[in-house]
């Protein structure tokens, strides 16, 4: 039984009609807060590649122009940060991870996304396929700003947003789950916002 916080009434209750869109413990913001563990990397698109790797070798690699030549999808989705803000109806331009993974043969069960700056995060393959995940390079019709992960970031909106790795440069295919950066520091291996899987053991 939680003690009642005398005199606390709450000011940020979820707006009527949106209850089903905001996971427990989250509040809606119209800002787009920035969170990262170190300086923002700035990789020029001329030097940017995206690779799918396995066992230390690249199975497939795309340059920026090759990636941009793939079918573009317009994605409108809600995002949920483990620090408790949710942002509704965010609008992205992106390539589906399905489109990328279709170009390699694999039996992997997990991916470890890797980024400029050394950031990594782990996601089951079944959560980055089936139209659930994207490589996003556009936000609201413009280029994705560097502080929000540009030139390109992962977008896996059904999981807490730390899984949507900023400055992403590839996916390592794995036959087992392996903790990424925040997962090593006690954050949840899976990160389902609807189950409030914020930290290990949640």
């Amino acid at each position: 039984m939680s003690p009642i916080s005398r005199g606390f009434h709450g000011r940020r209750r979820t707006p009527a009609g949106e209850e089903g869109r905001v996971p427990p413990g989250q509040y809606v913001t119209t800002d787009f807060p920035v969170l990262s563990a170190g300086p923002t990397p700035h990789t020029p698109t001329e030097k940017w590649t995206f690779s799918i790797t396995q066992g230390g070798g690249a199975l497939k690699s795309w340059t920026w122009d090759e990636m941009r030549a793939l079918p573009e999808e317009d994605v409108t989705t809600d995002i949920h940060c483990v620090t408790r803000w949710s942002k509704l109806d965010t609008h992205w331009q992106a390539v589906s991870i399905d489109t990328l993974l279709e170009q390699v043969e694999h039996q992997a069960s997990f991916v470890l996304a890797f980024s400029d700056g050394g950031y990594t995060t782990n996601i089951p393959v079944q959560d980055v396929t089936g139209g659930q995940a994207w490589l996003a390079y556009g936000y609201d019709g413009g280029p994705l700003p560097a502080e929000h992960g540009g030139p390109a970031r992962l977008l896996v909106p059904h999981l807490y947003f730390w899984k949507s790795a900023k400055w992403v440069r590839g996916l390592e295919l794995l036959d087992h789950d392996k903790p990424g950066f925040w997962e090593t520091y006690g954050y949840n291996m899976y990160g389902d916002p609807w189950k409030e899987q914020r930290y290990a053991g949640d």
Partner: protein, 249 residues
């Protein structure tokens, strides 16, 4: 960006407010009596949960202000449009019960036993809170590591922990910059931290410094980028952000 595993379930527990210490007109330090605290490292944070009488709950994260080994404390800045910070700074009283869990986070931490190199701590506003934990840890552990604090604040009245930082013999070098107003005769810096001030204050890279930067996004982006520009390896620049609606509210 490698780390050691920090695992184990973090459970909510009921803490009692032991003391509330006003720091500035907008900030207060809340010291808790936590029955089962596993201990924390300097720079970590914790989650606070409030429950209204109809069951509505709100949770927020706050940086821990106290050093490892000291009673758990947070310093909270009142945000006018905030949901939790006005409650914590205005309603909460000593003796009240409140739920919390932690410690959380393992990257933005300083450990005197393993972290070498002079410390460059850069704070924007209430971003000074986890850096204060680092400084207290440094002092309590008898660390010989040199430390410099670059602290950007709106005005002198908004400087948190000023007496503590200016205590003689702390061995701490504090460089203030006041962004909105400066008292008459102010001899410190004025305005936002720029590359020139950073170049003046930052330890030379040859000394293998370790930087911790905490504040609002624009502050953190500017300082972190500036340090990288001075040759700091990105892995030696650890950042944490306080946004109006961002990480630690």
């Amino acid at each position: 960006m490698e780390g050691t595993a920090v695992r184990g379930r973090l459970t909510w527990q009921t803490a009692t407010v032991a003391q509330i210490i006003p720091e500035t007109p907008r900030t207060s330090t809340i010291v808790f009596d936590v029955p089962e605290w596993a201990g924390h490292r300097a720079g970590q944070h914790l989650d606070v949960r409030l429950t209204a009488d109809d069951g509505y709950r709100a949770e927020r994260s706050y940086s821990i202000a106290s050093a490892p080994g000291e009673p758990v404390a947070i310093t909270v800045e009142r945000l006018e449009d905030g949901e939790v910070s006005p409650y914590l700074t205005e309603e909460l009283r000593a003796g009240d019960e409140i739920e919390l869990r932690g410690p959380i986070g393992g990257y933005f931490v300083w450990d005197p036993a393993t972290d070498n190199g002079p410390l460059l701590l850069a704070a924007g506003g209430s971003g000074v809170v986890p850096l204060r934990s680092i400084l207290r840890n440094r002092e309590r552990s008898g660390s010989a590591v040199m430390a410099r604090l670059l602290y950007s604040s709106r005005s002198l009245a908004d400087v948190i922990y000023r007496q503590e930082f200016e205590r003689p013999g702390s061995g701490l070098d504090v460089i203030y910059t006041l962004t909105r107003s400066q008292p008459e005769g102010w001899r410190g810096h004025a305005g936002r931290v720029d590359d020139a001030l950073l170049a003046e204050v930052a330890w030379p890279t040859g000394q293998e410094p370790l930087a911790f930067v905490c504040g609002p996004t624009s502050f953190v982006e500017g300082v972190a980028q500036g340090l990288v520009g001075l040759g700091y390896p990105p892995g030696r620049v650890k950042t944490e952000r306080f946004g109006a609606t961002g990480g630690r509210q």
